[in-house]
Amino acid sequence: MGVLEGLGLGLETALTPANLLFCLIGVALGTAVGVLPGIGPTATIAMLLPITFGLEPVTSLIMLAGIYYGAQYGGSTTAVLINLPGESSAAVTAIDGHEMAKRGRAGPALATAALGSFFAGTVGTIALALFAAPISRAALEFGPAEYFSLVVLGLIASIALASGSTLKALAMIVLGLLLGTVGQDIYSGTPRFTFGQRELYGGLNFVSLAVGMFGVAEILRNLEGETKRTVTVAKVRNLWLTKEDVRRITAPVLRGTGLGTVLGVLPGAGHVLASFVSYSVEKRVSKHPQEFGRGAIEGVAGPESANNAAAQTSFVPLLTLGLPANSIMALLVGAFIIQGITPGPNVITDEPALVWGLIVSMWIGNLFLVLLNLPLIGLWVRMLSIPYGVLFPAIIAFASIGCYSLGLNAYHVYAVAFFGILGYFLIKLGCEPAPLLLGFVLGPLLEEYLRRALIISRGDPTVFLTRPISLVLLVLAAAAFVLAVLPAVRRKREDVFEDE
């Protein structure tokens, strides 16, 4: 199926009333959780996963995806207006965006963010449409050996790109892989690490894990200190950009879009990295770098475009290879599985309406977001007055019901408590939970591919090195590992993340 044919089918799918409605619900919810500090898209998607069971597969994915990229928009709104990035990728937007707001230019800052994001989202969606089919065709040739090497590459690359301690990220991945082995072994049927409890034979539930580590742990973080919400919301007077503004943001938007489109495909925090890199690029190429940090509109245009383009292209590995590149995509793998679809290169040929419908819906969703965000900005700002004392019990209530409704199994709710406490202490000890979730989702795949490859090769372990694609992937993984631990590169990487 060609790209145009695919897009046609996608339009047909995405424009049904139900899908339009759920796209709107998704992006509106996404904007809301992006605006609200203390709850992010990961926890939201995890809590909503169980209840998407009753929806059509494409409808459920359209909504869940909408939450993800909608949160990118919402995060920048609070970053600009109250210097509080609701999302990690909006952290750089806050630097110059909030400065602009303090100078009475909140409107143009928000307009730049929304229009830049829309443009970048459109380009990102086109890139996704163009590359999805060729990549999945190539991936159809992959055997278990190639998949094993690809998963290894993905896991290593995700730590190479992360900020913070490489060793800790690596340990979190390994812990995630181990937690993923809980349950019955697929080959022998032996129950592993189940403490003899039948309820654990099916393994730990990744929804519980995500809700615990991203929802409950975050609540505890917020309850640590006095919740200082001195919300001094900057006034939004006028959204229009001047001619001068338009001239100044054009190049940064284009550069940011390009960077984001490429970096978004990378595993790990691709969209966060994209916004940081874009900011430092803009600062470097600017003719007046002294303005950065004091309300340079380029410092909003570039990173905002970059993170939104990246949010779109981070779907590439999921839709073409069936492999998640970050923790949100890991949850979407779960959404596919709940619907009885195994994500992989076959999906685009077996379920073309689903893949193309999702792609087109992302463009429509971006359009909704511009409409939702610019005229309705006051509504989102008002959401900030919801007291945290009401918000977090609501998260606990929704998490309990959502996780219990997965197979009406009380263990899924106990697991939320366990992973909430574990995740909280690990975060306190400087270990981010995202690599753990990625390891947890990829662990069973890694083991399956490893053992299947060895069975096919009759126990010959050189199969990973003699098959050329697998060899290339492993060499890349080794290179990424060296890069990750090389002190010089690490310092450089920290520069990028701390360049504020």
Binding site: I51, A171, L178, T181, F193, V390, V413, L429
Partner: protein, 152 residues
């Protein structure tokens, strides 16, 4: 070298060593097999050992660098209340039914707030329970009975 300064990394290392050991020791009781014919215990054993190694490395590098800082305040009361709230829901939702179970769970979590008081927590609990019933049972048609057999 400063033991106190590296407390964060030492604790992180110890946590990973603990998990690694627990997984590796348990895995060694399953059929391990060989690298060429892996049994169910093989991969967890290897990964467990790797985690122990990483944990030691984290602790050692933290100890040598002597930085990392303390772990800061921990909201013990909140952590305890949230755990009790979740465990209460899991263990009673079938017996008591959704409404009573959720009322208690939300009340307990609302009490975890720093300046929580009983009356606002009751109000929060009642309104959030009503909202949840509206969203999950009425709108999304989740099959959870309002009241369970224990109250019959």
């Amino acid at each position: 070298m400063d033991w106190r300064g590296a407390r964060k990394d030492l604790l992180a290392g110890a946590t990973f060593v603990g998990f690694g050991l627990a997984f590796a020791i348990t895995a060694s009781t399953y059929e391990v097999g060989t690298a060429l014919r892996m049994g169910p215990g093989y991969l967890p054993l290897v990964l467990g050992a790797l985690l122990v190694l990483l944990g030691i490395l984290i602790a050692v590098t933290g100890f040598v660098a002597g930085e990392g800082g303390g772990i800061g305040p921990v909201p013990w009361k909140a952590a305890g209340l949230l755990v009790v709230a979740l465990v209460f829901f899991g263990s009673t939702v079938r017996g008591l039914g959704l409404v009573p179970s959720l009322l208690v769970t939300v009340f307990l979590s609302a009490m975890a707030g720093r300046r929580a008081r009983v009356v606002p927590a009751v109000v929060t609990s009642a309104s959030l329970t009503a909202l949840s019933v509206l969203i999950f049972v009425i709108a999304l048609q989740l099959r959870l009975p309002y009241f369970g057999p224990w109250l019959g």
